[in-house]
Amino acid sequence: MSPTTVVVTGLGTTSPLGGDVDSTWEGMLAGRSGANRLEHDWAEQLPVRIAAEVAVEPAEVLDRVKARRMDRSAQFAVVAAQEAWTDAGLPGTELDPERLGVVIASGIGGVTTLLSNYDALLAKGPRRVSPLAVPMLMPNSPAANIGLLYGAQAGVHTPVSACASGNEAISLGIDMIRLGRADIVIVGGTEAAIHPLPMAAFANMMALSKRDDDPALVSRPWDLARDGFLLGEGAGVLVIESAEHASSRGARVYACVAGAGITADSHDIAQPDPAGRGGTRAIARALYDSKLAAGDIQHINAHATSTPQGDIAEGLMIHATLGDAADDVVVTSTKSMTGHLLGAAGALESIATIKALHHRQVPPTINLDDLDPAVELDIATSVRELPDGDIAALNNSFGFGGHNVAIAFTTV
């Protein structure tokens, strides 16, 4: 029996480039950086004072009382889910709640709620710790809030695999549909960790760029002058469903989620395998799962975070899996514009991959002035067109802990 075909029918985001998919996509095509200098008082002491904050504060969009009961990460997720739900044409549609699932990932969870309540505990005592702290800080809170919003009863899940979390959520959503446990799954990732503690921690582990000049120049995947990633925040949410269900309700289909590959390095808690073996196996498995050949892949939205090691390793993975066909693939890293959204990265970049297939346009990698000679890839430095006909694209995500997830999308 051939597996159920899974399609994408709705997209939503709130990102450093815009408060929705259209503005984010326009920003990407324009090669606009979402980075900004942090104006908060707490940033003055930090070794890194540049990040990529969301373009539209969720408080401007959400009901005040609902928003104050959610961590910032859940606020982002709900904003993105509302857009995806509407985009999928689902408002007013009669659905069986037992066939509706949610898989929303987070790398770190409600860290700002945890830390602000600790501040309150130290300053004013235990009585001032919010009774809402636990339901706000738990990492499954964004998924649970979305599940509540739409009455999802097929299962509400939260994978946590650092920077691979968003892609892992999409992969688990595919499984739910293929295994017959749901017809529609709201999938994606969210992250809100622009706070002095996580920023200091990432900086101290030498993961963040220490550049302190023009914020727009910080994130520069594959460029010789890259020195670490730019921390971003936001959420990406997709509505995926069985092709049969989408067809039965006459839904607009952006792309097929053809398949996924998940592997683990088991190499080091923070360093990627320098040979990229785990990532290579993830890409190979995604191709196998999707029944795609190397030559079908026309575009890759790379993980490429702008770290010295990781960007090189991913190039090796792409060559190891695609062979000679790698030369014909247009590769980009939208992190050059959005920064690294950690647990939301895979979801936002899957949206960019789907939009690229849908519009047959690949957004550029900005700041690639001086390509690292260790990288042999055809990287888009301006908007590139994709060919007509049936084509496929990959989105890669790799996370601390050695998590690797590649997702394959195809045109419809």
Binding site: V65, R68, R127, R128, P131, L132
Partner: protein, 81 residues
């Protein structure tokens, strides 16, 4: 000394801030749960805010007795006396 109306109106501002209930709806005869839809977690927030605003202690055991806005206002009046 704060009047009953002063206490009610300050409490109404807290309930509005925490639960989004219009302050003018927060009248003495209203039940927090049945009329104002204040759930148990929001009630704890209201109580903690009220303790700080009125400089009183409202023990957890006492909270279940504060069924109406009037109950809460009366408790605060007694505690301040």
């Amino acid at each position: 000394m704060a009047t009953t109306e002063d206490i009610r109106s300050t409490l109404a501002e807290i309930v509005n801030d925490v639960a989004g209930i219009p302050a003018e709806d927060v009248q003495l005869d209203k039940s927090f749960t049945d009329d104002l839809d204040v759930d148990s977690l929001s009630m704890v927030e209201v109580v903690v805010e009220a303790e700080e605003k009125f400089d009183v202690k409202i023990p957890d055991d006492e909270v279940k007795n504060l069924k109406t806005v009037g109950d809460a206002v009366a408790f605060i009046e007694r505690a301040q006396a």
